[in-house]
């Protein structure tokens, strides 16, 4: 219990530090949002309109410390402000409208990559030197080292445009209304297929290799030899003894990756026109939209910290050696 509380304390300090950095970083970037808008309007804004716009968007020069205090206050009252690049939509609405798709895409791809990668890694390590072990790790790492956008665009061109097997863009066809009907769900899956598969392809190599290496180290342990001597079936030893112990580093990595899913998959979203937070963050940075940038950074920070905390909890359950302090 004390272990948990102490951990929680560390997490709160980490949260506060990232909050402060979150506030400072956008303001350290050169330029300001209104200049950006002016460039976009290309000579259609009058001079006094620009001053008015600055006032409207709350960009008059309040002292920095005052902005910081109201920022911290707003964060804890759940008010993330109003987006500048999507004025006057509140930041919570912008993030809320897209976080669902981000989680769906990132979560699905991550889960498939983790499960498939770890399974393959376990099998490859168990039958070390066999066909699976010799071919797959180098093949998957090779595929994974292609530039992601090249892979994504190639897949879209081949399967989407040329063969027409998959849709070209968006999360679902505009003719469907969102709901839990079978038609809508299959439509969402067909739109999700190519983006998720391309992400899985580039990331699965890493999971497989990591699991395989940990498995090989675990197989050298004494208790594996003991289990074999006792006559347990190889499959039982592989899954219930070796894999379970080799899983621990993967769990930690999974936790980290889970937190970053919220940051969105920028390149996937651009290539497949999939709605999500990744491109939102890019356009917020380009428009110097301080509130939206802060809001998204905050969401990512909170998600990473929460995921890490959960992993810590799970780890305590999984690995008894950690409990003894």
């Amino acid at each position: 219990m004390r272990y948990l509380l102490r951990n929680l304390g560390f997490y709160l300090i980490a949260f506060w530090t990232s909050l402060t950095l979150d506030f400072l970083m956008p303001r350290m970037m050169p330029g300001d949002p209104v200049s950006r808008m002016l460039a976009q309007s290309q000579g259609e804004l009058q001079p006094d309109q620009v001053t008015q716009l600055r006032h409207l968007l709350g960009l008059d020069n309040r002292p920095m410390w005052r902005q910081y205090l109201s920022f911290v206050h707003d964060v804890f009252t759940g008010n993330l402000g109003v987006s500048i690049s999507r004025f006057p939509t509140p930041v919570t609405q912008v993030i809320g409208s897209e976080i669902g798709w981000t989680l769906l895409l990132g979560g699905t791809a991550l889960l498939i990559a983790v499960i498939a990668g770890n399974l393959l890694g376990v099998l490859a390590a168990w039958r070390r030197g066999g066909a699976l072990d010799s071919v797959f790790p180098p093949l998957l790492v090779f595929v994974g080292s292609f530039p992601y956008f090249w892979l994504a665009m190639g897949a879209l061109y081949l399967f989407g445009l040329t063969l027409g097997w998959f849709p070209l863009n968006h999360a679902y066809d505009v003719t469907f209304t969102p709901g839990f009907s079978a038609g809508f769900i299959t439509n969402v899956i067909s739109h999700l297929f190519l983006p998720a598969v391309t992400i899985v392809l580039v990331s699965i190599g890493g999971w497989m290799l990591g699991m395989r290496n940990t498995m090989i180290a675990t197989e050298a342990e004494d208790y594996i030899t003991m289990a074999e001597a006792k006559g347990l079936s190889p499959r039982r030893i592989m899954f219930r003894y070796a894999a379970r112990n080799a899983l621990l580093p993967s769990v930690t990595n999974f936790g980290l990756s889970l937190g970053f899913v919220v940051g969105g998959a920028l390149l996937t979203e651009v290539v497949f026109a999939y709605p999500g937070l990744g491109y939102q963050l890019l356009s917020a940075v380009q428009a110097l939209d301080y509130p939206l940038m802060q809001g998204i950074f905050l969401t990512i920070t909170a998600a990473v910290l929460a995921a890490n905390f959960l992993v810590d909890l799970v780890y305590v359950r999984l690995d008894p050696r950690v409990r003894v302090r």
Binding site: A39, V94, F166, T186, N187, F272
Partner: protein, 559 residues
């Protein structure tokens, strides 16, 4: 140690995943909307992609800088529509107008029977209220002294000085309903999710972050012109995915930049697809900071202008879609105003390296030992060209210019940070040269005012949003007031002739090419798009003429 039983699990998993893939493919095929010829019921929606909105947030507030597409084109309407492609003005909410002979007021008369989409009548009170709200929230209209409703259908706009270009400026303002907006406590922060407008398509349906539909206004004032069932907007993250959807035939009308449009877009279906890029956008020019030597020397500006080849620039930088500018500074949209005697005697906008070298030698910028010229203070003649990194075509233009300047012994480096940094530098006067847009309006008044008027010049260090070259000629001021004060076309033309002559003499900026108005169409599902042969509007979905297109298109119906 191989054991046959250990193999079954992976094989089973493989079989299961194949089955899943199979069902997904079938489900996907069955569910995908076939946007080709099977959809010709007459109720199909006009599909338009937007590459500048990666996702849609429900904001139809016309006073917001980020209002959704079609807010000012399909939902709200102005009093008149000016078409830069043929220079014609179509009366819209106003049936007629009268400019006073002293140029100090304009009177608009609204049509009879105008209604909002909720059934209430559109009257002069709405117009008066709109201008008041616009001035309060966003400023502008500095020449406007007062707006008064003379009766339910007539509005009088009084100016504080003679200002004939005011007609088009005022006429382009979209009108909002007073009975809705006067009840809102904070109009600038209102997202207007269910807009009440006077336009042809005001009913928002099926709003999602990736698309939304606008259906017919039940009380539209020209119901006979609502041929199409509605408009559908699709969101994309940038040009590439929007272009992919356009090329695949998922959209009917697109106005984003499509490179190599003939072979990538038109050739896939030349019978139904086409494009038209009239040169009616704003002039793109090479702006020089005239407060810094040597750019304060008109001979230097003219010599540098002669050192660059505008045909290469438009061919390589703009894929051949733009038209090179001449020494009047006027774009193709102002062809009717162009003074042919000035245009035909242009010399400093023609590519002539020998003349450029000669002019620089004569002006006192001799070459040094390494071939690079020296400034009057002994420093080498080198400077930077600033342009925003996001505009890849303008970046190419800047690089071409830098390359070509080597032939005249001048060193230029291209600096391409983010646009907001570049615009800040322009605003503060903290730059050497840059590739910049210019002011664009119904008449050339705003353009010349923006590059030559002393009224727009601010000292270095004071922020400005206009006249980045910080050049003013008092003769321009006189001509501009003459233009503003004249109420006849002949008087205005005389003033513009003088301005063209002055521009050619002073070279306040180096004109490069006119920004083309992008536009591509696919008439498989809708016919009646404007073309070069029928320029009743441009193919832009983002300017005022879009409403002309929306009320002219007919759906293709197959029985």
């Amino acid at each position: 140690m191989a054991h046959p039983r250990a193999l079954r699990r992976p094989v089973f998993a493989a079989a299961a995943s194949l089955a899943l893939v199979g069902s997904v493919l079938l489900g996907g095929c069955a569910g995908s909307a076939d946007s080709s010829t099977s959809d010709l019921t007459g109720n199909q929606l006009l599909t338009i992609p937007r590459e500048d909105f990666s996702t849609f947030s429900r904001n139809f507030n016309p006073f917001s800088p980020n209002a959704l597409p079609m807010t000012d084109q399909a939902i709200y309407e102005p009093m008149l529509v000016f078409n830069p492609a043929d220079n014609k003005t179509t009366p819209w909410l106003a049936s007629s107008w009268k400019v006073a002979s002293d140029g100090r007021s304009v009177t608009f008369t609204l049509r009879n029977g105008l209604t909002w989409s909720d059934g209430q009548a559109l009257t002069a009170a709405d117009v008066v209220y709109t201008f008041g709200l616009q001035k309060k929230l966003l400023g502008g209209y500095t020449y406007l002294a007062g707006v008064k409703a003379l009766n339910t259908h007539t509005i009088l706009f009084s100016f504080n000085k003679p200002y004939s270009p005011g007609l088009y400026d005022l006429g382009a303002q979209v009108i909002v309903p007073e009975h809705i907006w006067s009840t809102i406590s904070n109009p600038s922060k209102y997202t207007n999710p269910d807009p009440v407008g006077s336009g042809p398509y005001t009913q928002v349906e099926d709003f999602t972050t990736q698309s939304y539909e606008l259906k017919k206004n039940p009380h539209y004032w020209q119901p006979a012109k609502q041929h199409i069932a509605g408009v559908e907007l699709l969101a994309f993250d940038g040009n590439d995915p929007a272009n992919l959807a356009t090329i695949a035939g998922q959209t009917d009308w697109a106005d984003q930049y499509i490179p190599d449009i003939q072979s990538t877009f038109v050739d896939r279906d030349p019978k139904n697809r086409g494009y038209w890029f009239p040169p009616v956008g704003s002039l793109v020019n090479w702006t020089m900071n005239t407060t810094k030597a040597p750019f304060n020397d008109v001979n230097v500006r003219k010599a540098l202008s002669m050192a660059i080849d505008r045909s290469t620039i438009t061919k390589i930088g703009e894929s051949g879609y733009a038209t090179a500018a001449d020494c009047t500074g006027l774009t193709g949209g102002y062809d009717a105003w162009r003074d042919s005697s000035v245009a035909s005697s242009c010399d400093w906008t023609d590519y002539n390296v020998a003349a450029a070298n000669k002019l620089l030698d004569e002006a006192g910028y001799a070459r040094g030992a390494n071939g690079i010229r020296k400034l009057k203070n002994g420093q080498p003649f080198s400077f930077t060209i600033e342009v925003g990194s996001a505009s890849s075509d303008w970046l190419s233009v800047a690089n071409i210019i830098a390359e070509e300047l080597k032939a005249v012994g001048v060193e230029a480096t291209v600096k391409a940070p983010n646009w907001s940094v570049v615009t800040s530098d322009y605003a503060d006067g903290d730059y050497d040269t840059g590739i910049v847009w210019s002011d664009d309006a119904a008449t050339p008044y705003q353009f010349y005012q923006g590059v030559m008027s002393t009224a727009m010049v601010e000292p270095v260090g004071t922020q400005t949003t206009d006249n980045y070259n910080r050049f003013g000629d008092s003769k321009a001021d006189t001509l501009l007031s003459e233009f503003a004060a004249s109420s006849t076309e002949a008087g205005q033309q005389k003033a513009v002739d003088g301005l063209q002559e002055l521009f050619s003499q002073d070279a306040p900026v180096v004109p490069l090419f006119d920004g083309p108005q992008w536009g591509a169409y696919n008439d498989t599902r809708f016919t009646g798009f404007p073309t070069a042969a029928n320029p009743y509007a441009t193919l832009s979905t983002r300017t005022a003429t879009a409403v002309l297109v929306l009320t002219t298109l007919h759906p293709v119906v197959s029985h």
